[in-house]
Symmetry: C3
Subunit: 431 residues, 3 copies
């Protein structure tokens, strides 16, 4: 059996955050987490499908793993999952294939459950169905009493769900040839060809089993998904404090923390898990980090709070509040900068995607940034704002709109300088 | 003897702070403090005079007390104290009456002193005279050598005081009928009818004794009086830390504190008495509360200082400085907000009352707010500013004027976004 | 032998910082440090040359020292060092003279080295040459193999240095009469007459020896030199904590600190040496002072960081970041004020001197202020800005330009107050 790991997506909705495959959690890129999990459950033969934009990088990031990984380029990314499977056709044709998207973060048990269901071998395909307790806008698996899928119903609307199982892209196809044939013959103008092909297969007599899964599942499609994944991965990991870490006597550490090599936690600092602190990072005096993933060589400066946030590498803060935010690499905030993370009306924070506002699904969400950014002192960011790569943002500004890549943002307020006819009282006269 | 407790005043000069009777000190409304003090000195029969605006609420707040309280409505509030006494006429006519204003915070000893003076019973009235050491703009008691009052001199001006005793509205009248008659016959267009009636009674032969009082006295007429009362009541109370309070090992607590049920004081936080922390409130990491009354379910967030301030219930702060301020209920400050509490010239802070500026009598005074307010991040308030109920204040603003109820305050500063031709240095090149 | 201590310079490039002679390091004016060092090495006979602007003050500051000090006024300050020596002519004519500028901070060993070189007595003059490892834009001593100076080469340019010895104004002239004569006869329109006279003396056969010096040397010509001197003097001093200092149990003190009488260091505060804290100063809760010289009666308020900075007397801070800055006397910063100390492009910080921008030689440099200044809350200063004496700076401003003496700086941003149709959620509905 081969795993077909789909990693070619361009992460458009994640911009300015970088390609999710390379987002580092606990210092390790997501693509490595995914492959290591496959390895853990004994799935060592993997075909990774990437695009022109990331295939080399996927290879560089993963070829040190002791697995049998083949790398395939999907040329036309508009063809989605269908195109991805067909691009890998020659690598998978001869055996069963497990299709899995690098977008989806699940537990190893997802694969174990699927493998167990596969053992009797009486079905043509096995589709992982995430058991949900409330409505989720995805594809629902309609099944008969034996768990055999009769239909996949896309976004049925709340109350119309045919089951409590949502189609999760962890699909095991026993007869890859049948899948390929169905994909090659599907007719659809949309990017749902893969799903239509599955439906056609079912209609043509393929027996597909819904395999119920009750574990963790978090797709990473929007920036606000990132910290949820970080929190999960930290909580799943063992507590660890590197022996090279320097922790001051008056620093306080609570809960599940993973503190990497050469981290320095200074007097009066507080680290409250779940937290990851990357190699060489500093939590300075009287700073607080809680429920966050902090990359390498970061400085959480004096008096700063970082809460429920994801920080890339080389992020420098200083007397800041970074809350519910996603910060890229090589970003520096001047003292007094604040990421607003709650609207005045406390409604759900909206994020603008090229003019279309989408809800972050939470009333607490802060700033999203790309990389290589410098921010002046005392600047404020409104909830849900996005700052592109390579930007300079001046001091004392309120940024309430998205800022494109390579921007310099200023807010010239003219000063009025007049003669001062008053004098500052001498201190000894002051009570 | 009955106590006539005057509580009908509309607290105009306290706006946007709520009716002073219901201001909670140490979690208990002022009106309850006043009644419990009367109970403590054995004065159990009380007539509370309220107005249409607050009588029901006065009843709700106090009828659980095990005292004999009657509630009377004063219909025409313009008639002041005179109207209040006459409104209660039928409840007090048959006995002696002790007239006391809920405005005035005094010690129980004020009543004990008066009762002791009353025991010989040789006078018609007993007027509490607060012994002052410097000039106070009130009514002074002119007395003969036996302490019998010959005249009440309103605001004589410094140097012209006829005595060191200021008329404090804790008045015991033995013959209530005589007082009623004098009030019914007084002729004055001003709201000083009660005082004129007293003068007429003296002129007509009533013997009124000035009873000297050296204890605490603080009227609550202006917002800047509130914290003085809070400080007094905290200092008078026993130190108390509820067993349900959670106090982190590295938190520091100094001095007289009253820490109510379910309070949480986190690592690195400092509480420096005199302080009251209301039920369920949180003092977060590295925050400081000193010399303040904090209501219920408040959050004194990370890195915040609350100094010499009164916070109502449900006040949320976060990396703020709240100094010498009076904050209502359900108020939230974004990170980085600051209440200025000292003028640049360090002169007395002035407060604008409908266009008329009055001195707060101090060079340190901050913000006054009503309730149901949200403030964006990094916003500043100038000393002595008042914010009405139900306001939203945007981020990064300097508020230098009073803001009426139900206002949305913004300060749109246009941003200039141009192309950034520079690039942020890579961190590894940075020394 | 007499020392001629040149202290008449007007410190133009130091403005708005005060006359460097009176800048206090560890509570002691620089001129006293210089004289005490001379005393330490046995040089008790000193002629101090001042100007009309500072001679009285020089006398007041130093006449308590048990040395033989004579005070001489240099009338025409435009005549520089040459004028200074000639002004003191009658005081020094009869003996050897050691010319030393109060501008230059060196170690006592500089004088000891020079004295040792002088003992054989075979030369006419002894010139201290600071051994440098990289190019310094000063005068280089060209010598023959015996260390006898053949020429002084002004700013030769990197790579053209005739030696590794830079002329440092610690000059011992055995025959003062010869020096005076040379100075009286020199012809030059520039203010380099003293240097030209030395060259003329060499040309005329005077034997001057270059005495190599490898110790500390820091001229104080620009504001960014000040903290370097402070750091040196603190590091040279013994660690000391006055017995009258009050240090809270949870305060943390690291490294070389000198904590003067009546200093108060409160809970959660951190002082990280090298640091000097002047008499009666307070480091309040959760504040941080590191690598700084803090004058008398300063308040480093709650949550403030003072880093690599020089603070005069009576400086009040409160939730501020003061980094790489030089602050005068009687200066107060409102809560939330920040001194930016790093450009967005992280280039060297430039300082404007009457329209001419000079580099601070560092990418970290902050604010320079004079004295008697008040700053409103949440105001930001851009790196390298200078604020003159007697200024008021309003709240919420970004100051990006120099501010002259006696200025009132405002930035009126109009507020838009409209009706608020939304209401703040009740807290009990808030998750």
């Amino acid at each position: 059996m081969k795993v077909l790991l789909l990693a070619a997506g361009r992460s458009k909705r994640m911009k300015p955050v970088e390609d999710k495959n390379f987002l580092k959690f606990l210092g390790k890129p997501l693509i490595v987490w995914q492959l290591e999990m496959l390895k853990e459950v004994g799935l060592l033969d993997v075909v990774v499908v990437g695009g022109d934009h990331n295939l080399e990088r996927l290879k560089d990031a993963t070829d040190h793993l002791e697995m049998n990984i083949e790398y395939v380029e999907q040329e036309n990314l508009d063809e989605g999952m269908c195109g991805a499977v067909l691009a890998a056709k020659e690598y998978i044709l001869e055996q069963s294939v497990l299709v899995f998207s690098s977008n989806d973060v699940v537990e190893a048990s997802a694969f174990e459950t699927l493998k167990r269901a596969f053992e009797p071998g009486d079905m043509d395909s096995y589709i992982l169905g995430k058991k949900v307790e409330s409505y989720f806008p995805g594809g629902y698996l309609e099944t008969n009493e034996d768990g055999v899928i009769s239909r996949i119903v896309e976004k049925p609307g709340e109350g119309n769900e045919p089951s409590d199982l949502v189609n999760l892209v962890v699909h095991l196809h026993k007869h890859t040839g049948d899948l390929i044939e169905a994909l090659e013959n599907v007719e659809s103008d949309n990017d749902d060809k893969y799903e239509v092909a599955l439906s056609n297969m079912i209609a043509g007599g393929s027996k597909m089993k819904a395999v119920a899964y009750e574990g963790f599942w978090q797709p990473i499609k929007f920036p606000w998904h990132i910290q949820k994944v970080a929190r999960f991965l930290i909580n799943e990991s063992e507590k660890f404090i590197a022996s090279s870490a320097q922790i001051a006597a008056t620093a306080v550490i609570h809960g599940k923390v993973i503190i990497d090599e050469d981290v320095k936690i200074m007097d009066g600092a507080i680290v409250s898990g779940p937290c990851y602190l990357g190699k060489g990072s500093v939590v300075a005096n009287n700073a607080l980090v809680r429920d966050s993933n902090v990359g390498e060589r970061c400085v959480v400066g004096f008096g700063t709070e970082v809460a429920r946030s994801y920080l890339g590498d080389d992020v420098w803060t200083h007397s800041n509040y970074i809350g519910d935010s996603v910060i890229g690499n090589n970003v520096s905030f001047g003292a007094g900068c604040v990421t607003g993370n709650l609207r005045l009306d406390e409604g759900e924070v909206m994020v603008d995607f090229d003019g279309k506002k989408l809800s972050s699904q939470s009333n607490k969400f802060g700033l999203i940034t790309g990389s290589n950014i410098r921010v002046g002192v005392n600047t404020s960011f409104m909830p849900g704002v996005k700052i592109g790569d390579d930007c300079f943002i001046g001091a004392g500004i309120v940024v309430a709109e998205n800022v494109p890549d390579k921007s310099f943002v200023r807010a010239k307020v003219e000063l009025k300088i007049s003669e001062n006819n008053q004098s500052a009282p001498r201190r000894d006269n002051f009570k």
